[in-house]
């Protein structure tokens, strides 16, 4: 046998085109009777400013808002004033109060008007209902480490500060994993926030925006040799697909098990993705667009992945606007809204818009008071829930006034949440298919809050 020279070397790895094509996946369009549901969490890292998202629109309230935010309100490229803000009908319970979203989020107002998006106001981590008085005199039981990024992110996703080991998305999957033929793809993350989709038994799969990652040289050689793979190639394959569990230390065992799990899951995922047709819907080139497109592609391949229930989480950064809020937040909001609208349209294209519900989360809102050109860590914030199963076109919960000193002000315009994360999560879980007892197990603090649950989905 001749000695082989390796074409792979020096950047010759662009082999994707030569990979064998599997037959096209079955038609992408959903079967009406298909039992499939997915939850998609859009996690906004840093704490998105509730005050700069749902903005007072009636003249009196806007004037008050303007007074608090004056120091940087003039710095937005597109002014955040009534001439450009996009109003929406908040509903009778708000009386004469009116609200709007920034023009960068006009797409969400459109979905809201179509009844496919709802706003859930003033949600945040709580252990029990809290009032301004019980907060001030310190008699309220409070989540630990309030206002700290990592701890409140963990509390939002998992119900406790950093170090908590399972999130409610993952625990939802724990309850419903029997609906899935294979466990690997019930919970998927496109980046960080894997805590949210980690259950007591559910382990998330990480997919990049480009799809499954492969060990390129190994794949290329296996492709090259085909059925005549030499023994040394088999040794190499075994090396990269090791028997799990062995190792002299726990960390060695973990590295080996993670390598094995990654190898098998990537191979499966890669196969499932072959032949998935492109969407008619164009996703915007934003970070949100790319990650939500990766989610949409995973959903297309759901049956190849043996998934009847799926929980996804994507992560977007840049919302910790201590500084230069007027310069950075609009762009991030535009990317977010554009991505969400495209995702909803893609689900409509697939006929899955009734079966997929997307919602936002963020560790906290922000202060109404400014620190110059930005804002500081708050507590409660406003969230969006999107999908055709959503009872949209309505605001659920409260949208406190943009003033200081009111009954939900913890100081500086940090909002004391009037809905707990559990109350926000429970309707999603119920829609996803959890029974009341399964919900209690997945959301241990739920019983501390009054029913009924908000009925946004």
């Amino acid at each position: 046998m001749n000695r082989r020279s390796f074409l792979l070397r020096s950047g010759g790895l662009g082999l994707a085109g030569s990979l064998a094509r599997l037959p096209l996946a079955r038609t992408a369009r959903a079967d009406e009777t298909e039992d499939y549901r997915a939850l998609v969490c859009v996690y906004l890292s840093g704490g998105m400013d509730n005050w700069d998202t749902v903005i007072p629109y009636d003249a009196t309230a806007y004037a008050e808002y303007e007074r608090h935010r004056r120091s940087f309100l003039s710095a937005y490229t597109t002014p955040r004033d009534p001439s450009t803000l996009v109003p929406f009908a908040a509903g009778d319970s708000f009386g004469s109060r009116q609200f709007a979203l920034p023009s960068e989020m006009a797409g969400l107002v459109q979905l809201y008007a179509e009844g496919k998006a709802a706003i859930v106001g003033n949600v945040g981590p709580l252990l029990e209902p809290v009032t301004r008085a019980s907060y001030a005199d310190q008699t309220a039981r409070l989540p630990s480490r309030l206002f700290s990024h990592n701890d409140q992110a963990s509390t939002w996703q998992a119900g406790g500060p950093e170090g908590t080991t399972s999130g409610w998305g993952g625990r939802f999957m724990d309850a419903l994993s029997s609906r899935n033929g294979a466990a690997e793809f019930g919970a998927i993350t496109t980046g960080d926030n894997d805590l949210f989709v980690t259950g007591r038994s559910t382990v998330p799969y990480q997919v990049s925006v480009d799809g499954a990652s492969r060990i390129l040289a190994l794949s290329a050689m296996e492709e090259d040799f085909g059925s005549e793979a030499p023994a040394w190639l088999e040794v190499l394959r075994q090396h990269f697909r090791p028997e799990p569990g062995a190792g002299r230390s726990l960390l060695e065992q973990d590295v080996r098990s993670l390598a094995r799990r990654s190898f098998d899951a990537n191979a499966l995922y890669d196969r499932a993705q072959r032949g998935v047709p492109a969407f008619q819907t164009l996703f915007p080139p934003s970070d949100a667009g790319a990650q939500l497109q990766a989610v949409a592609r995973a959903i297309v391949a759901r049956s190849s992945l043996s998934a009847g229930r799926q929980v996804f989480v994507i992560g977007l950064g840049g919302f910790d606007t201590h500084s230069a809020q007027a310069q950075t937040l609009p762009m991030d909001q535009a990317g977010l809204a554009g991505g969400i609208v495209a995702f909803q349209r893609a689900m409509e294209e697939l006929g899955l818009d009734q079966q997929v519900t997307l919602f936002t989360a963020s560790e906290f809102g922000r202060t109404l008071a400014v620190n110059g050109d930005g804002t500081d860590h708050g507590w409660g914030g406003h969230q969006f829930v999107v999908g055709s199963a959503v009872r949209g076109g309505q605001v659920y919960g409260e949208l406190p006034e943009a003033t200081l000193g009111h009954a939900l002000d913890a100081g500086g315009g940090r909002l004391i949440p009037s809905l707990s994360v559990e109350q926000y999560a429970a309707p999603l879980g119920r829609w996803f298919g959890l029974s009341p007892s399964e919900l209690e197990l997945a959301l241990p603090g739920l019983a501390n809050f009054p029913s009924p649950l908000p009925s946004f989905v």
Binding site: T165, L236, H239, D254, L258, N371
Partner: protein
């Protein structure tokens, strides 16, 4: 396109492309031989193991030159080694950019200069202990130039910050905390640059960002710790601070701004970001400032307020175990025993440590980082080779350290990152999932308290920070990157089409880039399979390669002799080793 101005770059740095190799690599002066109690360098394997913990990796000449010598004396000699700094290289890069004709390309080049200087420092610096400690500290005092904002555009800012850590790495914690506070890069990153006192007329409040993170991340953490670094459990609150402490402390960090010194042109913008912040007196809050039980009286000026605040924070009993535990994680083991943390915290508190040969180190002042680092590295937990009865000992090498260990073990020649695109942005999950000084946030690449879900270490409740970077995308991403590293060849031997296009750049001298980051493998390809395995084992896994890994390498080498060139056999064996748990986990 990036490579177009390499000539200018290289000339500006005074490198001619052949001077670096070999200089200064022989230990000098000779260290005394072992005296029996100081056996960290007792064998070549032990030497490599120690240097894997304490430096950016052992070179073959280190294993030969240091084995049988005193590690204590090595430590003392490292304290004297002159610091290798980044700013000189970054300044030279800006000068080259300003001189350049094709401005855009030069600027693009110049923006990579912190990365270039980092890799040159860690691979070529003779102050390895200092460099490695600075790298550890950079994961506690975090700034990032990955945001594409000002810290990216003005590389001097982060270079200056890195240099602060390099210069302060073996000094005093309290002093470092103060110089970090006055660093322009930190002020920008944590948004207290130009931070102003409250204005009751508008409701404006001081920015709280730095006040919160200096407590949570840089000093004491969120919960009271015992001496062993365990959270104190008792009835009532055991959190170290409340939001009132943060808003009180936020007043301290008002009134700091850049020192323009009258300079505002293109040539001096970099310099502005390398000078300690100055006080704008009228912007500083003169209100009373209360935090952590400290009261700074009304009308106290900025510098005094900051001094008092830093003193108070640095004196908190949490600091020793909080910082000590994280340093142990960075150098030795991810889930240290409380007794180990306690010994390191004691060295921190006392400011002293006695090396195995009896030499004391440290000034005796609380917060001495030399004493703390010595306590981390010379502790019995770090020095004894772990048995299989200690399955929780060890740490994952983080991706940057895996790469540096390989580069140093196989004596890469030129270290021009500009010649190796992967290094210019190794942040993507498909590359290394880590880039020097480019964490995603002030919370670093991974959290010290991270417990990996769905793992055996997690089930045992063990913290494993670096596992936070390991997932189904990063595992193949790392393998693909190491394939490119291990199989890298000189460009003279033929290049891809893409590289051919680069030939069209008329002013591009490819000679340096072509040799950049080439491992020296010639001597290895003539070895027998057993000798090759032994060599790889010594250099990468300090003689601790598992039997199963040896068997796999043996099987590969024996089966591939007819199909592969010897040098390719060597490369595959290296690729397998650097992607094995044996190498990835350092024990």
């Amino acid at each position: 396109m990036r490579r177009a101005s390499l000539v200018v770059w290289v000339l500006a740095l005074g490198l001619d492309g052949c001077s670096a190799r070999g200089t200064g690599s022989v230990p000098a002066p000779e260290l005394p031989e072992l005296d029996g109690v100081d056996d960290a360098f007792g064998s070549e394997a032990q030497t490599v193991r120690f240097l894997s913990q304490a430096t950016f990796g052992a070179r073959p000449e280190d294993a030969e030159g240091l084995t049988g010598r005193s590690a204590s004396r090595w430590f003392l000699r490292e304290l004297e080694a002159p610091a290798t700094l980044l700013l000189p290289r970054v300044r030279a890069a800006r000068a080259a950019a300003l001189r350049a004709e094709e401005e855009d390309e030069e600027l693009e080049f110049f923006i990579d200069s912190t990365t270039d200087a980092f890799w040159k420092g860690v691979l070529r610096g003779e102050d390895q202990l200092r460099q490695r400690m600075a790298w550890a500290l950079s994961q506690i005092f975090v700034v990032s130039n990955g945001g594409g904002e000002l810290l990216t555009d003005v590389p001097e800012a982060v270079a200056h910050f890195e240099d602060l850590l390099i210069q302060g790495a073996l000094g005093n914690y309290r002093d470092l905390l103060e110089s970090v506070t006055y660093a322009p890069a930190m002020a920008y990153y944590l948004t207290y640059l130009g931070n102003q006192k409250a204005d009751p007329s508008t409701g404006r409040q001081p920015d709280e960002n730095y006040a919160r993170e200096i407590l949570q991340l840089f000093s004491i953490g969120v919960v009271e710790l015992d001496a062993g670094g365990r959270p104190v459990v008792r009835a009532g609150r055991s959190e170290t601070y409340r939001n009132e402490d943060v808003t009180g402390l936020a007043k301290v960090f008002t009134g700091l701004d850049l020192d323009f010194a009258g300079e505002e042109d293109d040539a001096s913008v970099g310099a502005i970001w390398t000078r300690p912040l100055v006080v704008e007196a009228e912007a500083h809050s003169l209100e009373e400032k209360r935090f952590l039980g400290t009261v700074i009286p009304a009308d106290t000026l900025a510098r005094d307020s900051i001094r008092i605040a830093i003193d108070a924070i640095a004196a908190h009993p949490n600091v020793g175990p909080f910082i000590g535990r994280q340093l142990i994680q960075r150098f030795v083991t991810s889930a240290p025993m409380p007794a180990y943390v306690e010994r390191v915290a004691r060295a921190f508190d006392d400011g002293r440590f006695v090396l195995p040969n009896g030499s004391p180190v440290g000034t005796g002042r609380r917060g001495d980082l030399t004493a703390t680092l010595a306590a981390v590295l010379f502790d019995v937990e770090a020095r004894r080779v772990p048995s299989s009865a200690e399955p929780s000992f060890g740490k994952l090498r983080e991706p940057v350290l895996r790469l540096s260990a390989f580069f140093r073990a196989f004596e890469v020649g030129e270290v021009e990152p500009i010649g190796f695109d992967l290094l210019l942005d190794s942040s993507p999950v498909g590359v290394l999932n880590q880039h020097p000084y480019r964490a995603k946030s002030v919370f670093n690449f991974y959290r010290p308290g991270y417990v990996a879900p769905g793992t055996t270490s997690g089930a045992a409740g063990l913290t494993a920070p670096e596992l936070q970077l390991v997932n189904a995308s990063s595992v193949p991403g790392y393998a693909n990157t190491m394939f490119e590293v291990v199989f890298r060849e000189g460009r003279e031997e033929g290049g891809s089409e893409e590289e051919e296009e680069d030939d069209e750049e008329p002013d591009f001298d490819r000679s340096v880039a072509a040799r950049a980051f080439l491992p020296r493998l010639e001597a290895l390809q003539d070895l027998s399979a057993e000798d090759l395995i032994r060599t790889i084992d010594l250099r990468l896994t300090y003689g601790q390669m598992s039997d199963s890994m040896r068997s796999a390498l043996r099987a590969f080498l024996n089966a591939s002799g007819d199909d592969l060139e010897p040098v390719d056999q060597v490369r595959f064996a290296l690729w397998m080793t650097v992607t094995s748990p044996d190498f990835i986990v350092q024990r």
